[in-house]
Structures are given as structure tokens and as C-alpha cells.
């Protein structure tokens, strides 16, 4: 780049003025559009480097310089491929020199921008530059960092490395339009070759200025350098280390195995582990610079009273963050010496930061008096970080050498202080004590969560158990107090609702702490409960017991979390702490957990009494009762005894005792009298909540979905249910009582499902089927009678009739969805007997979309549950019914336009239509599955039912109802195209037989799908296309017609020749591949579709290729294109067969072709 001549100079100055003008006018908001256009044009001009450099060096407007730097970046990244090596280098060194020369400039943001441009360009050229070239750049940077050119340049040097590291780190790098591999190579290269060096430079820079900082009493410029260096070190330690550590994965020692991966602990994600590997040992551990860091911070603490320093001043914050980062250090960087080295490291850190949090009461007081809380919070975070890399035992021991108590005691007292502060403050804002409580809870969780099911459980040492016990007592006290104080500010139920999930998480942490000291926690809870029960008994009718109710409510939630686990679809085990701690308690009825559970169940039983219910059992309290019963019964009620003989043979005696207590605990509520009694109570309570709490939807939802649903999930409980009078009462009430018709219809569905499920628990299948007939009989009769009425058409639209019909349809759907192989017969008969009523209802309620939807959902659930089991004759009946249903639905809805005035009603109508259609597609998919899964005794072809034709016919009915607008609903679109592509893939022969109208419709849809935005949809269309084309190719290859006229093209009535469909798709697919932007994920499927198309339409492909070449004017591009097209079809020994190998070869060719 030569210097500009006089003519050039004038031009450069003109550009500069234009840019400056644009920048100032943007700032002043004068004509921003024009100004932006100017700046954009600067960025998009080819080769703007000279102008930009001119602006950077000469402009007086800092923003103009900033924009010039941005323009250099954009242009260079864009034109990198065309730049010659010298230009690349000179651009980078220009940027570097610029920042060094202007290091003292007050406009920091311009410098930061230029330095980040240098970093980005450096990365862009990283793989092209030789080691020597890189060395030259870094030499310059190193000189700066050494401090030879003064503090400002030193700062700039560190700053440049910071931008560089952040560019190379995958999560913070900026986009360059290059493949992922490029970024990964850079990432790897920097980590292996440079990162450690950078770290050492930063450390040395920081150390070199430390003395100056410590010695002076006011802020000195060195602070800036030191802060930047600390930041860089922190950033390097945040690096996602990959390449140094994995080589040593095999040699995991006991201690490093302790380091949990954050997936194991549910909340560990906030705390990332730092695992740089053994190569970093000398720099980080042996060099002793942790001592330096701690003493630096200690010195800073002394200065907090001085001018220029305070507890949250940047350098103090950076130093604390770096210390925290060191706490998370783990892995193979430590010697495998049984953890000695790691322990020593942690001890050093802990003793350096213990003053931040100890003594807890003083710390907490001074924060209440106005001291900043950030240091204390960082102390808590450090504890969390340490907890994440140690066991409870090691964690506790750490502190013992410098304090008379262990770290667990400190943790407990610290948290007690925090909770006390929390109780005092009692505001709704997030105070420091909130934050501290959450961090400390996380710490407990990290310590207590059993991290490895096979390895040892994390048990607390004795002192820690006491600490946890004290803490739990205080937690319960604070929760109870919070409850009663919250009552004073009356109903802010929004707040309650939003905090419920946060509360759940908190409660499970509390439960972990309680389980850490289970022998204290359970009796404590028992005592608290019984105190309140006594008070409730005494105060009956005299005082309004809201406060107590709320306390019982919270206690129920806490007890539920302590005693049992969530299960998440599995049968949860009795918590390990409960199994082990009470090992000496062989007498079952004195087992603390049994005592606690029994007293709660006895309390719950009182809700059956109407008078007490009105006084005590408010809907909200009842919700807690039902929730507790559901959670508790999942673990304890009639637990399937499957105690395995001890696989760990050692400690036989202990194991045996363990087994016995566990057995005692489970047998107590097992399938004996006691268990049946409790089951009966639970069922009666459920009936009460369903019948005696009218309109309490939440309570009833809990009862239906959590309690009853969970009960029938267990086969062994099902076995007992029908032997209970109470359950039979429920079934009877369901069939006969009006009051259950008042439940929310969705709950009725769930109830029907539950009852039908429970029937399958009966001893023999005849009894089950009989029982189901009893259960569902009323629905069949009801619908039959209604639809048979002469004046049904007239009364049908009365709200009470609509409600009745909706209830019955929901119940039918519930029953249908509970279909199991054993009860399949009864459910099939159920559907069969309502077929006609269903069609009548569909006709009568054609305008009542809510009813139509319920009806369709019932049919979908029924067909889905039955189809695989049906015999040929039954299948024919079902298929016929479905087709009539589809035709009827279609005849009502096709060509219908809603004329509503309100846009929201219109959009509601559209949503309803969407849901209907989705149900219909699901119906067709279910039918489709008959060909894949079939348990019937004979083949369905015996009755002449061809599933593929049926489904095509169904699709033919449904497709016209699906408008382009409706395809904007992603789920519908997805369902539709997956059904379509499934059909084309599995039954291409049936497509060939379709008439031209139906065929054209399907292909139109395919064409639409190919240009859809959703790659999955495009992928499905490509698969369908592949199926069609390869079917045709194979068929014609063996002398048959294949797609026949559809492929060869036909004369339309107007006498114009219509291109065959395969040529049309070859056209549009090539168009897509060559000229449109498409996701790289699609390449393989595009290749799979393209190959058979090319083979089918060789001539057309050649012609298209030729046209393409002729249109290209640039000769270099032309030859490249010719090469690419040539090699697409002729390299890699591609042959003209459609086998797997050939597909694979072609895929490779296409991937290669894309690079052109």
C-alpha cells in the first residue's frame, strides 16, 4: 500500500469528512438514515483499508475512528481470501502499532475496538501464518507487557491478549462465516501452544506492579495494569480446557473421582469446574503465586479505607473472582497423592478468604449496618466451589487446622445467621440474605446429593450431622414464621403462584439437609405436627385457625420432601438416609418415619368428617394433604418387596440389619391389613375431594392426576383396589351420580382412565372386561338415548345437553386411552357401540367446534389403542367408520368461511380448525401403523382392506382442508409432511395408481414443502422424493411402467405439453442446491434424492448443466463450475445403480461439490 498522492489525499480527506459528518449526525439524531447509509457504504466498499487507516490516524472524531476500525474488520474478513500475505500482515501490524502508539489516548473504546480487530484478523489468518510470523507479533506484545514502554502500553498489551483469548474461546468468538472446524482448530492450537505463555506473561505483569500498589496509599496507575492482568488470568482459567486433560482421564485417582460433573448435581451448573490438566501444575500450583494473590487481596483489604479503593473497586472484584476460580480448580493438575496436594491447595485458599465470612455473626451484623455484601457473597461462593470438588468429610476437615471447628459447622452457623437476617428483613425484594441463602443452599446440595449411585454415599461426619440438625431446626422455624407473617399482608396470590416452583426447589434442598441429620429431623417434624394437631383440636370453632392451617400446610410440604423422593416416573426408593440411620429400630411401630406418617394420615382422615372439614380443611390445606399422600404412597404404600441379596458381601451383619429395618418399614404399610386400611383412607379422601369441594379445580386436578393416577400405576395396588368398598363406591358414583358430572371435563377424562386402568388389575381378564362394561355402560346408554331422540336436533344446542355430551365424550376418551391388551375387547365393544351415535353427533354439532374436537380426540384415542389388535373383519369396520367420519367432517368444513367480526374470534376459529386437522392426521397415522404393528391372528388382506389405499383416500379427503395458512402451525405442518413422506416411502406403488388430480395435489404439496423454512420438513420431502424417483427408476429398469404417465409428461387439455414430474423436481432440486441458501444438514438427503432423479432424467440433467455453464460469464468461475458438475457425476466410481454404496459415494461427491 503506497502513500497517497495529492489527488488521493484530497479524496481520502473527503471520505474522512463524510464519515465524520455521518458520525456526528447520528449522535445528534440528524437524518440518521442517510448517516447510516454512509457508514454502511464505508463498510461494504471493496478495499477500504487506505481510507480507514487515514481516518484512524487523522480524524479528530473518536466515533469516526471507531467506525473506521469496524470497517477494516468487515472488509478484511470478507476479502481475506483475495488479500495477499503481505497485506494481511500489514493490516494486523498496523492495528497493533496503532494501539501501542495511542496507548495513552483517553478514548478507551476506540483502542479496545482496534485491538479486537487485530485479534479477529489474527484469528482469521491463524492457520495461514507461519510460526515465525506469529512469533513476530507476539514478541511485540510481550515487549509491551513487560512494561518497557510504560504503564499504558503494558495495559494495552494485556488488553490485546484478552481480546485474543476471547476470540479463540468458542463461546465468545465472533462469527467469520467459516466452518466450525476452523474455530476448533484455532481453539486447539491456542490452548496447546500459547495459553500457558499468555498466563505467565499476565502473571508476571501483575507481579511486577504489585509492590507499587501495596506500597502507595492512594490509587496509582499500576492498578489499571494489575486489574487487566487479573482479568486476563481469570479469563484464561475460564477456558474450556480440552486437550491437555483428556490424555490423563484413564488415571483418575480417588480424589479426582470425587469431582462431580455438573450434570450429576441438579444445580451445579452455576459452578463450573476448572480442569486444565497436569501441564499447568508448575504455573498454577507450584509457582506459589496463589500466595501472592491472597496477599495482594489482603493488602487491598487494608486499603479499603484509602482513597481510590473500596470493597467493590474493580481490582478487588477481579482478585476475588480469580480466587474463586482457583477454588474450582480440580482434576489431574493435582498429583495423584491421595488428594494431599489438592487439600493443601484448598486449605491455602480457605485460610486466605476465611475472614470474609468468619465469624458469621460479626460479618452479618456489619452488612446489616451498611457494609457491602459482595465480599461475604464471594466467600459463600467460594464455599460452594470447594463443596463442588470435595466430599463432605474432606470439606469439614479443611478448616480444622486453622479453627477449632469444622467447615460444616461454619457453613451451618453462617447459614443460620443468613436465615436470621432473612427473618428480620421480611421484605419481598431480593436482599443479600436471599442471595446468600440460595448460594449456601446450593453448597449443601453439592455436599449432600448422592453423586454416584454405585460409589459411597456422601455421609456427614458426626459434627456435621449436628450442624445440619441445628440448621434444619432453624430453617423450619423460619419457614413457619415466614408463613404467619405473610398472612398479615393478605391475598397476593399472584406472588404465591409464581414462587411455588422456586419453593419446590428450595424444599428439596431443605430435605437434603434434613436427611443429613435425619434422626433429629423426623422427631422434630413429628413434634411440630402433633403440637399443631393438638391446638387445632382445642381451638375448634373458637379461634379462626388460619395461621395454624398455613403452618400445617408448610409442614406437610417439608415433611413430604424429607420422607420421600419425587420418583419422576420410576418407583422411588426409600431415601438412603432413612434406610440407614434407623437401622437399630427394628420394632416397626416405633420407627420414627412410621410414627410421623401415621400421625399425618390420621390427621388427613379427619377431613372425612363434614363438620371438621368445614372448619379446618380449607381447599388449600387439602391440596397439601393430597400432595403429601400422593408423594408418600408412591414410596411407602404397598411397596413391591424386591430386596436383592446383598451384592456387596462385606459387612454382612450391617447389611442384614439394614434389610430388616427396611423390610419392617415397608411391611408396615405393605399389602397386609395396615396397608389396605391406609389405601382405603386415601381412596375415601379422594372421593371427598372430588365430591365435597365443588369447583375447586386445583384440588381436584391434584387428586386426579397425582394421587389416583399414581395409585393405579402400581399393579399390586390395583389388585387391592377393587376389593375395597370405597373404590367400588367411587366407580358406582362415577357411573351414576350427578355430582361427578360437575367435575371439570378433563378431570372426568382422567377419572375414567384411572378407573379403567384399575379394572385391569382384577384377577382374570373376563372379570376385568366385565368390570369395564359396567364402568362405561352409562356412557354408551346416555349417548345412544340422546342421539336417538326425535327432537335431538332441536335440543342438541341447549347448553345442558352440550355439557352432558362433552362429559360423555371426555369420559369415553379417557376410557379409550386406558386400553390395555387385557381389556382391549371391552374397549373395542365400547367404541363399536357408540359408532353411530358419534356420527350423529358429528352431524348435529357441526357448528359446535368444541364438541367436534372432543369427538375427534375420542376416535383418535380409541383407534390408536385398538388398531394393532384388531382382526381383519374388525379392521374393516373401523376403517369404514373412520372414512365415514372423515367424509362427514370434510363435507361440513370444506369451503366454509367464518364471517365473524372479531379478529380474535376468527383466530380462535382458525386454531380450532388446526387442532381438528391435527387430530385427523393423527387418526390417519394410527391407521397407517396397522401395516407395521399387527397382533391379530390373520392378515388384514383377507378382508380386502388395503391400508395404504385407505390412508391415501383419507389424505385425499383431508388435504383440501389444509390451507397454506394452517401449515404455518409448525406441529400441523410437521405431522402432515411426516405422514406424506411416510406414505410415499412405504407405498410408492399406490401413488402411481392415483388419478392425475390427486397425484398433482400431492406433488404440489411436496413442492411447497421443499421450499419450506423448516429443515425437517424439507428433509422429509427430500426423502419422499427419493422414494418416488428410485421407485420409478427401479421399476422402469426392470421393464415395468413405474410412475407411467406421471413421469413421462402428458398433454393437458389445452394441448400444451406438461413436463413429467421427475423432470420438474430435478429442476427445482438443482435450483435449490445451486442457487439457494440451505442448511448443511440437508446435504445427505438432498444427495439421496438427486441421484435417482439424475438417473431417471439423464438427458435433462445434461441439458440443464449446459445451460448453466452458458449463463456463466466469468471464465474462471465457468471452468470451476464445469469441473464441479463433471466430478459430481463421474468421480468416486459412481455407477448407475441404486444401492447403498452408490448412495454413499454420491453423498461424498455432493459434499465435495458444495465446497465449490
Amino acid at each position: 500500500m503506497q502513500g497517497p498522492g495529492s489527488n488521493g489525499l484530497a479524496q481520502l480527506q473527503a471520505t474522512m469528512h463524510a464519515v465524520e459528518l455521518a458520525c456526528t449526525s447520528i449522535q445528534m439524531h440528524i437524518n440518521p438514515a442517510a448517516a447510516e447509509a454512509t457508514l454502511l457504504s464505508l463498510r461494504s466498499t471493496p478495499q477500504p483499508y487506505q481510507a480507514c487507516q487515514f481516518i484512524l490516524e487523522n480524524s479528530q472524531v473518536p466515533i469516526a475512528r471507531f467506525q473506521a476500525a469496524a470497517a477494516i474488520r468487515d472488509a478484511a474478513i470478507r476479502e481475506w481470501g483475495f488479500l495477499i500475505a503481505d497485506d494481511k500482515r500489514s493490516l494486523i501490524s498496523f492495528c497493533l502499532c496503532f494501539v501501542m502508539q495511542h496507548a495513552s489516548s483517553p478514548e478507551g473504546y476506540v483502542l479496545a475496538k482496534v485491538s479486537s480487530v487485530a485479534a479477529q484478523l489474527m484469528k482469521r489468518g491463524w492457520l495461514d501464518f507461519t510460526a515465525v510470523e506469529k512469533e513476530a507479533f507476539f514478541n511485540q506484545v510481550n515487549q509491551a507487557i513487560l512494561g518497557i514502554h510504560g504503564i499504558d502500553v503494558q495495559f494495552i498489551g494485556v488488553n490485546f491478549l484478552e481480546s485474543l483469548v476471547s476470540e479463540f474461546s468458542p463461546s465468545t468468538s465472533s462469527a467469520m462465516g467459516l466452518p466450525r472446524e476452523f474455530h476448533e482448530q484455532c481453539w486447539r492450537s491456542l490452548e496447546i501452544d500459547f495459553l500457558k505463555t499468555f498466563y505467565t506473561w499476565a502473571r508476571n505483569a501483575a507481579i511486577s506492579v504489585t509492590n507499587r500498589i501495596i506500597e502507595s496509599n492512594s490509587e496509582v496507575p499500576e492498578v489499571k495494569v494489575c486489574n487487566a492482568a487479573l482479568r486476563l488470568m481469570l479469563q484464561i482459567l475460564n477456558w474450556d480446557f480440552r486437550y491437555n486433560s483428556n490424555s490423563t482421564k484413564s488415571s483418575i485417582n480417588v480424589f479426582s473421582a470425587v469431582a462431580r460433573h455438573d450434570t450429576d448435581s441438579p444445580r451445579g451448573s452455576e459452578c463450573t469446574l476448572v480442569q486444565p490438566g497436569p501441564a499447568w501444575r508448575d504455573v498454577l500450583i507450584s509457582s506459589g503465586h496463589i500466595g501472592w494473590l491472597l496477599s495482594l487481596y489482603a493488602a487491598l483489604r487494608q486499603k479499603f479505607s484509602c482513597e481510590g479503593y473500596w470493597i467493590d473497586c474493580p481490582i478487588a472484584v477481579s482478585a476475588r473472582k480469580l480466587i474463586l476460580q482457583f477454588c474450582s480448580l480440580t482434576g489431574t493438575i493435582f498429583l495423584s497423592d491421595n488428594g494431599k496436594m489438592h487439600e493443601h491447595h484448598l486449605l491455602q485458599l480457605l485460610s486466605g478468604m476465611i475472614d470474609w465470612i468468619d465469624p458469621p455473626d460479626t460479618v452479618s451484623k456489619s452488612i446489616e449496618c451498611g457494609k457491602s455484601e459482595s465480599e461475604m457473597l464471594d466467600g459463600c461462593r467460594a464455599l460452594l466451589a470447594i463443596a463442588n470438588v470435595t466430599t463432605p468429610f474432606v470439606f469439614d476437615q479443611l478448616l480444622k487446622s486453622i479453627r477449632p471447628f469444622g467447615a460444616l459447622t461454619l457453613l451451618s452457623t453462617l447459614m443460620c445467621e443468613v436465615i436470621k437476617a432473612l427473618m428480620m428483613s421480611n421484605t419481598e425484594e431480593e436482599t443479600w440474605s436471599w442471595v446468600a441463602r440460595d448460594i449456601l443452599l446450593d453448597t449443601w446440595t453439592a455436599l449432600l446429593v448422592p453423586f454416584d449411585s454405585s460409589g459411597g454415599k456422601s455421609m456427614l461426619p458426626p459434627e456435621g450431622v449436628n450442624a445440619a440438625g441445628n440448621l434444619f431446626a432453624l430453617i423450619v422455624e423460619s419457614e413457619l414464621k415466614a408463613v404467619s407473617s405473610a398472612l398479615t399482608d393478605d391475598d397476593d396470590d399472584d406472588y404465591l403462584h409464581t414462587s411455588i416452583s422456586a419453593m419446590d426447589e428450595r424444599l428439596s434442598s431443605y430435605a437434603l439437609i434434613a436427611r443429613g441429620a435425619i434422626h433429629v429431623a423426623i422427631p422434630l417434624l413429628t413434634r411440630l405436627f402433633s403440637e399443631r394437631f393438638v391446638r387445632l383440636d382445642q381451638g375448634r370453632g373458637v379461634i379462626y385457625p388460619t395461621e395454624i392451617l398455613e403452618e400445617v400446610y408448610s409442614l406437610l410440604l417439608i415433611a413430604g420432601h424429607v420422607v420421600a423422593d419425587e420418583g419422576e416416573g420410576e418407583t422411588p426408593l426409600v431415601p438412603y438416609a432413612i434406610q440407614t440411620y434407623f437401622a437399630d429400630n427394628i420394632e416397626a411401630d416405633k420407627h420414627p418415619v412410621i410414627v410421623l406418617s401415621s400421625s399425618i394420615i390420621r390427621f388427613a382422615e379427619k377431613s372425612l368428617d363434614a363438620e371438621l372439614r368445614a372448619l379446618v380443611f380449607s381447599p388449600r390445606l387439602m391440596e397439601a394433604v393430597v400432595w403429601f399422600l400422593a408423594r408418600w404412597s408412591h414410596t411407602y404404600l404397598m411397596h413391591p418387596e424386591e430386596i436383592k441379596e446383598g451384592n456387596s458381601a462385606h459387612d454382612q451383619d450391617h447389611q442384614l440389619r439394614l434389610l430388616q429395618t427396611r423390610k419392617g418399614l415397608l411391611n408396615f404399610f405393605g399389602e397386609g391389613i395396615q396397608g389396605r386400611l391406609v389405601l382405603d383412607i386415601i381412596v375415601r379422601i379422594s372421593i371427598t375431594t372430588l365430591m365435597s369441594y365443588p369447583g375447586e379445580k386445583n384440588l381436584q386436578a391434584l387428586t386426579c392426576y397425582r394421587l389416583l393416577h399414581a395409585l393405579v400405576q402400581h399393579k399390586h395396588i390395583c389388585v387391592h383396589l377393587f376389593s375395597l368398598d370405597s373404590w367400588r363406591n367411587l366407580a358406582h358414583a362415577f357411573a351414576n351420580e350427578k355430582s361427578l358430572l360437575l367435575l371439570n371435563t378433563a378431570h372426568q377424562r382422567s377419572l375414567a382412565q384411572t378407573l379403567v386402568h384399575s379394572a385391569s388389575g382384577l384377577m382374570n381378564s373376563d372379570a376385568s372386561n366385565l368390570c369395564i362394561r359396567d364402568l362405561v355402560g352409562h356412557m354408551v346408554t346416555c349417548l345412544g338415548e340422546l342421539s336417538g331422540k326425535d327432537d335431538f336436533k332441536i335440543v342438541a344446542q341447549q347448553p345442558d345437553i352440550i355439557l352432558m355430551v362433552s362429559c360423555m365424550l371426555e369420559r369415553l376418551r379417557g376410557a379409550a386411552s386406558a386400553s390395555e391388551p387385557r381389556t382391549q375387547k371391552a374397549i373395542y365393544e365400547l367404541g363399536l357401540s357408540v359408532m353411530n351415535p358419534v356420527l350423529v353427533l358429528l352431524e348435529v354439532y357441526k357448528h359446535e367446534s368444541a364438541v367436534v374436537y372432543l369427538l375427534l380426540k375420542f376416535v383418535v384415542a380409541w383407534v390408536n389403542g385398538q388398531i394393532a389388535f384388531l382382526e381383519a373383519g374388525e379392521t374393516a369396520v373401523v376403517v369404514d367408520f373412520c372414512m365415514r367420519l372423515l367424509q362427514l367432517y370434510s363435507s361440513h368444513n370444506i369451503g366454509k368461511i367464518s364471517l365473524s367480526l372479531s379478529s380474535s374470534l376468527l383466530s380462535e376459529a382458525k386454531t380450532e380448525k388446526y387442532k381438528d386437522l391435527r387430530a385427523l392426521l393423527q387418526l390417519l397415522s394410527s391407521l397407517c401403523s396397522k401395516d407395521l404393528i399387527d397382533f391379530s391372528s390373520d392378515s388384514i388382506e383377507t378382508q380386502g382392506t388395503d391400508i395404504s389405499q385407505v390412508v391415501y383416500f383419507g389424505l385425499h379427503i383431508v388435504t383440501p382442508l389444509i390451507s397454506l395458512d394452517l401449515l404455518k402451525y409448525p406441529k400441523l405442518c410437521h405431522d402432515f409432511f411426516s405422514l406424506l413422506s411416510h406414505l410415499l416411502e412405504v407405498y410408492p406403488d399406490t401413488v402411481a395408481q392415483l388419478n392425475s388430480e390427486a397425484f398433482a395435489h400431492i406433488l404440489g404439496t411436496l413442492d411447497f414443502g421443499l421450499h419450506h423454512q423448516d429443515t425437517e420438513v424439507v428433509d422429509m420431502c427430500l426423502r419422499a422424493l427419493k422414494a418416488l424417483a428410485s421407485y420409478h427408476y427401479n421399476e422402469t429398469g426392470s421393464g415395468r411402467t413405474g410412475l407411467g404417465l406421471h413421469a413421462s409428461g402428458i398433454m393437458d387439455p389445452g394441448g400444451n405439453f406438461q413436463e413429467g414430474i421427475l423432470s420438474r423436481f430435478l429442476h427445482s432440486l438443482l435450483q435449490l442446491l445451486l442457487f439457494e441458501d440451505y442448511s448443511p444438514d440437508l446435504v445427505s438427503s438432498a444427495a439421496d434424492a438427486l441421484l435417482p432423479l439424475i438417473l431417471c432424467e439423464q438427458g435433462l440433467y445434461q441439458r440443464l448443466g449446459k445451460e448453466l455453464l452458458e449463463r456463466q460469464t466469468n471464465p474462471t468461475l465457468k471452468s470451476r463450475l464445469a469441473n464441479a458438475l463433471e466430478s459430481l457425476t463421474s468421480t468416486n466410481q459412481l455407477s448407475s445403480t441404486l444401492d447403498r454404496i452408490n448412495y454413499q459415494r454420491f453423498r461424498k461427491n455432493l459434499i465435495w461439490y458444495r465446497r465449490f
Binding site: D491, P619, Q797, L901
Partner: protein, 160 residues
Amino acid sequence: MSDEEHHFESKGDAGASKTYPQQAGTIRKNGYIVIKNRPCKVVEVSTSKTGKHGHAKCHFVGIDIFNGKKLEDIVPSSHNCDVPHVSRTDYQLIDISEDGFVSLLMDNGDTKDDLRLPTDDNLLGQIKDAFGEGKDLVLSVMSAMGEEQICALKDIGPKN
């Protein structure tokens, strides 16, 4: 207050009643409800409690099925609400007059001439065009609580 008055009114009606009482807890989204004496389609239901240990109440958001206005109501969920009797009848379109009134064929052979098409010009044009082309059009008329409106249109193919 207004609820009760309204009840009387509906009972006083000869023949089919205009509204039916139904427990608030059973009314679902997409159902109908009377709010401020207007028939509405429910587009949103949520439940909350009166006080911590009180009973549930339902919060309804409805859209007037005739004029499209949004209305809201809160009812204890064990209480009854009024649900309008909404019925729809299909008529064949015989004629459209200049001012947008339509002539519809009733079952007994008489014509019904008191309804007009929606005022949306675009839609009106479409309907007129389709009618002009000789297509067979069926109009659905929605009626509730003494009001009527054309709510949907269906093309059942060309006139033979």
C-alpha cells in the same frame, strides 16, 4: 343483582329459555357464557383463591359473539353462571339486495329477509361475486338471547 334480574327475564320467556345455569367450574375455554347480559365465547379461564384458605373463583375472559367486544367476569367456581343457548341454522341464499340485506330460504318454503351481510367490503364483494357466478351458497345464522347474525358461509358447489 343483575344476575337475578336476568334470571327472571329468561324464565319469563315463553318456550325455550335463552340461558341455562351451569356451575362456573365446569365452563371451559371455547364454551359460552353470559357476561354483563351479553352472550360470549370464553377465550380464557383461570382460577384463583379468595384469600389463602378461601374458595376457588374463576376468572373468565369472553368475547361477545355478536359484536366482538371483550368482556371479563369473576365468579366463585361453585356458583352458577348463565350459559346462553346459542343455536345455528343453515339457510340457502336466494338473493342479495343492493343494501346488503339477504333473502334466505326457510324450511317451510317462506323467505327470511331481515338479516344483512357483514359490512366488510372485501368479503361482501367476494360473496356477491360467488353468488353472481351462480354458486350455491349456504349461510349459517347464529342466534342467541334474542339476537341473530350471519356467522358463516359455505359454498356447496355450482348450481346445477
